[in-house]
């Protein structure tokens, strides 16, 4: 046996071979004594005397045995087991107390575990792809080139950036909605159009069939599809026989060649994937030729051993070369550029700060929980004074007593932690759907080993903290404790007061955060988006590509598409009860990215080398503004006569008028149209609308649907019909119009508006729940401490009342004691909240990021009303918490109180 193993068996043996060890120890010592006896007999003693003498010399056998056992490893475990058993017994004697602590603890741990599981799944865990740390997303645009500034890449640019030295692979992705035919109903499928080696670069292997190969991407290759796992499960019931099936899409047969494993899909979850050659837009010769036809998202793999900085530097070099070669496409002086962002960061960029804020608030709750439990334990310690003193008097060392107390605390903490874990597991589904609004990584949220370790670690740490505060606050002064007959000394009172102050100040800060975000939510909810939302139903309608194939001549196709939608509009208007019908590319509050274009104004020449400014382009039918209730402030709305053959027209909103025609009337001026030499005359100015409730309106230009080619449109109907009736009739009319036209996403605009605020509401609710928890825990804490203090001073109050003190004076005395603590806590909390909003607010609350969520809108971080409201609430709650024990103090019967002594 190797020495190490032998050593281990000796150590661990003491744990498992307990009986044998005892026997051996017994035999060993008996042998020693027998030898002593023999020695004595040899020296001439009688056997009886020899044994007596031997035992005298040896000392107490049990004492020696106990000292030996102390050296065994098992001893440690035994003591722990003993402590746990003792702790359980003492907690069982006081189940209410134990329950309060465990539940308090569970709330604190539950809140933290839940938020941490999101942080872990979204921010900490590596991407579930091969060498996920080496994957980057490329962005191209002005400013930070992110969010709305990101213009994406054209197929030509994809090839150029493939030359960048630090990148081993660049693959493309873009998202289209196509109609899949060949099933019972035409189905609108979200499609990821990707490079043939897309899945190889990500390192994703199919569970059925294959992914794409280079030959799939060749021009004219048979069209193929790979299904996402979710779509395959949802629509085909996980049928492995799907591989080889053929569906019609975009006027061509498409064969399913594979199914993906259930991996999270970035940048978004789609139903099917197709190679870029199969996408009618992407494979259009015009798209391939034009350098500014930017619709692609670029993913790249950074070569091994290459740092992020080096990759960016090489990207800059590549871009500079493009700028030198194609002067018209990348004008000098424009701050247009390309950046590489690690995929992991990119996927969570608009969620990170929110998450850290939530984790911070959850941490505050835990601090309050800690202080509260420490306070409860402190109060209980005083009640256990006699028990502990007695144990000390009987020989328990200080260390031994500390160990016992900490064991009890850990017992409570771990029980609370387990319960907290259960609570957070129950709330997980809610959190996943919340996170899904921000990041495609939401599906990776779950309770894994990291989360378990976090919970265990935090529970144990919490237990140690709240356990050691009372344990060390006490001095184990045996003599005085026994002498005083168990009445309280002042010891611990100061600590209890300090803990209350800490709780109040932490709660104040938390409630300020909750108050500010709540106020902001109310403000945002009250914001007028600039459109009406009552009695409006919206939906999506996307025609199939088969309808008007790209093989038609462009003018013919444009005419047919325009006529298609005009007829559809007329059919909708014919529905009885329908008042107005509007159609557009998207709708306000819909959170669909706008379509930015360069705005070239006639009579506004640009300085040389400057690109024209960007403006969001939207499409509208003639009744669009009337349907949504957007008044035309100047000029006219679109008319049915604004057709393809009529002169091009456009309408700008007030923001655009102010920004691009300051001091001028834009109506009657002209802007550049679709092609060279084509112009649109501005015929009207419309009021601003907020495309998202919490963002200010942007400059926009509207173009008539009839003068563009829109394959898919969002429609909205203003009607007197109940929503279900309206939806049914619209579906029927759509089917009658074109049985291959899928209609989906029926929602009222009121729903759309409310849903847009859902993430904000969830965050506010979370912070609010945390604040409420803090308030309840703190109120309980105050009540407990004051009640305890009243209990200890019963004698004093008895004397006061006996000497003629008014009941109200006694009441005031107790209330004052509580309010002094609360006031100190409020003062500290005020200073803390002010500093926090300064530090955190600067980073998060006021930041107008393009993609992230601005938590405070229309509310200043030092909003006086919120501060006063929160302070008042806290004081009122504190008074209520003090009142119960105070009333008891005031109604003390002096005779009873004095006799009790």
């Amino acid at each position: 046996m190797s020495p190490v193993i032998r050593h281990l068996t000796v150590r661990l043996g003491s744990l498992f071979r307990r009986e044998r060890l005892e026997q051996e120890l017994d035999a060993e010592l008996r042998y020693h004594i027998d030898m002593l006896v023999e020695q004595n007999v040899a020296a001439g003693m009688s056997p009886a005397a020899a044994r007596r003498e031997a035992l005298r010399v040896f000392g107490t056998v049990d004492g020696v045995k106990d000292d030996v056992r102390d050296k065994w490893l098992s001893r440690f475990v035994e003591v722990a087991v003993q402590d746990i058993r003792y702790g359980m017994r003492s907690l069982r004697r006081n189940p209410g107390f134990a329950l309060v602590i465990i539940v308090t603890m569970a709330l604190g741990i539950g809140a933290n575990t839940a938020i941490f599981s999101v942080v872990n799944g979204v921010l900490l865990r590596p991407l579930p792809y091969k060498d996920g740390d080496k994957l980057v997303v490329l962005h191209q645009g002005q400013g930070d080139a992110l969010g709305a500034n990101d213009q994406g890449f054209s197929p030509k640019e994809m090839d150029d950036y493939r030359q960048s030295r630090s990148l081993s692979d660049v693959v493309e992705f873009h998202n289209m909605f196509f109609t899949l035919l060949g099933r019972a109903e035409p189905e609108r499928v979200s499609t990821g159009v990707v490079s043939a080696n897309y899945f190889d670069v990500l390192g994703v292997k199919p569970i059925h069939g294959r992914t794409f190969v280079a030959s799939d991407d060749a021009p004219g290759a048979p069209a193929v599809l790979v299904l996402s796992n979710g779509y395959w499960e949802r629509s085909f019931g996980g049928d492995p026989g799907i591989v080889g099936k053929v569906f019609r899409m975009n006027d061509r047969p498409h064969m399913v060649v594979g199914v993906l494993p259930p991996v999270p899909q970035y940048p978004l979850e789609v139903d099917v994937y197709m190679p870029s050659s199969a996408c009618p837009f992407r494979s259009n010769p015009k798209a391939i030729e034009q350098r500014q036809f930017r619709l692609l998202t670029a993913f790249a793999r950074v070569k091994p051993e290459v740092t992020q900085d080096k990759a960016q530097a090489d990207l800059d070099i590549t871009f500079k070369q493009l700028q030198r070669t194609y002067k018209d496409d990348y004008p000098q002086g424009d701050d247009f550029h390309a950046v590489a962002v690690p995929l992991k960061t990119d996927l969570t960029s608009n969620f990170t700060s929110t998450l850290w804020i939530l984790l911070g608030t959850a941490g505050f709750v835990l601090l309050i929980v800690c202080a509260s439990i420490a306070n409860l334990l402190l109060a209980r310690m005083v009640r256990r004074e006699r028990e502990i003193s007695l144990r000390a008097a009987l020989g328990a060392t200080r260390a031994r007593l500390l160990r016992q107390l900490l064991t009890e605390s850990l017992l409570l903490a771990v029980s609370g932690g387990v319960l907290g874990l259960v609570l957070s597991a129950l709330s997980l589904q809610l959190l996943v759907s919340f996170a899904a609004r921000y990041t495609p990584r939401a599906q990776e949220i779950g309770i894994d080993l990291n989360v378990l370790f976090f919970t265990l670690g935090v529970s144990v740490l919490t237990g140690l903290v709240f356990g050691s505060i009372p344990a060390f606050a006490r001095r184990f002064d045996v003599a005085s404790a026994l002498r005083d007959g168990g009445t309280v000394t002042q010891s611990g009172q100061k600590m209890r007061s300090a803990l209350i102050v800490a709780q109040v100040s932490a709660s104040f800060m938390l409630l300020i955060a909750a108050g500010l975000t709540l106020r902001s939510l109310v403000t945002v909810q009250g914001i007028n988006p600039g459109i009406r939302t009552e009695n409006l139903v919206s939906w999506r309608a996307d025609m199939s590509f088969d309808k008007f194939p790209l093989t038609m001549s462009p003018p013919e196709r444009r005419a047919k598409v325009a006529a298609y939608w005009t007829e559809y509009e007329q059919r909708l208007r014919a529905i009885p009860g329908v008042l107005e019908v509007g159609g557009g590319g998207t709708f306000p509050l819909n959170e669909i990215d706008p379509f930015p274009q360069r705005l070239v104004r006639e009579g506004h020449p640009l300085p040389p080398g400057r690109q024209p400014p960007q403006i969001d382009v939207r499409f509208a039918t003639s009744e669009y503004f009337k349907t949504l209730g957007q008044p035309i402030v100047n000029g006219r709305a679109f008319a049915p006569s604004d057709t393809l053959t009529a002169p091009g027209v456009a309408i700008v909103n007030q923001s655009a008028a102010k920004q691009f025609w300051p001091g001028e009337d834009p109506v009657g001026t002209r802007i550049a149209g679709n092609g060279p030499g084509q112009f649109r005359t501005i015929v009207g100015v419309v009021t601003d609308v907020r495309q998202q409730l919490d963002r200010p309106p942007k400059a926009e230009v509207y173009v008539p649907v009839a003068q563009t080619v829109n394959i898919g449109m969002t429609w909205v109907v203003h009607s007197r019909l109940p929503i279900d009736d309206a939806t049914r009739q619209i579906k029927a009319v759509s089917h009658a119009h074109d049985s291959d036209l899928p209609v989906s996403s029926f929602r009222t605009l009121a729903e759309v508006r409310s849903e847009g605020l859902a993430p904000r509401r969830v965050i506010v609710s979370l912070i609010g729940v945390f604040g409420l928890l803090a308030l309840i825990i703190t109120a309980t804490g105050i009540a407990g401490v004051i009640a305890f203090s009243v209990n200890q001073r019963t004698h004093e109050f008895g004397i006061r009342v006996a000497l003629g003190a008014q009941r109200s004076r006694v009441l005031g005395l107790v209330l004052r004691e509580g309010l002094v603590l609360v006031s100190i806590g409020l003062a500290i909390g005020l200073a803390g909240a002010y500093m926090l909003t300064k530090v955190v607010g600067a980073v998060v609350f006021e930041q107008q990021s393009t993609a992230g969520l601005t938590l405070l809108i229309g509310t200043h971080p030092t909003d006086a009303a919120t501060y006063i409201g929160v302070a008042t609430t806290l004081v009122l709650v504190a008074i209520a918490a003090c009142l119960m024990p105070a009333r008891r103090a005031a109604t003390v019967n002096p005779m009873v109180a004095l006799r009790a002594q």
Partner: protein, 109 residues
Amino acid sequence: MAPKSDLLQGTLDLLILRTLSGDPMHGWGISQRIQQLSKDVLQVNQGSLYPALHRLEQQGLIEAEWGNSENNRQAKFYQLTRKGRQQLAEEQKNWERLAGAVARVLAGS
């Protein structure tokens, strides 16, 4: 490395290890040998000897085996492990340095 113990405990450990540097011995034998070698100056108290033996065993410095004693009874025999031998050499050196230092101080006064 064993935790630093106070002088007395450390000394007892050293004595035990030194005594066991030869043949395996049982507890009784160890106490007799120390007494004998120190010419009755050092009397090892059983109350210290057995806890020390068990501690050294847990630390892996010595190991134990049951065997027959000289009077043909079952007894627990201890012997040094390799780690124990290293520890003995080190402690012995420390002790000699300390003893020498004390001796020099005393001689100098």
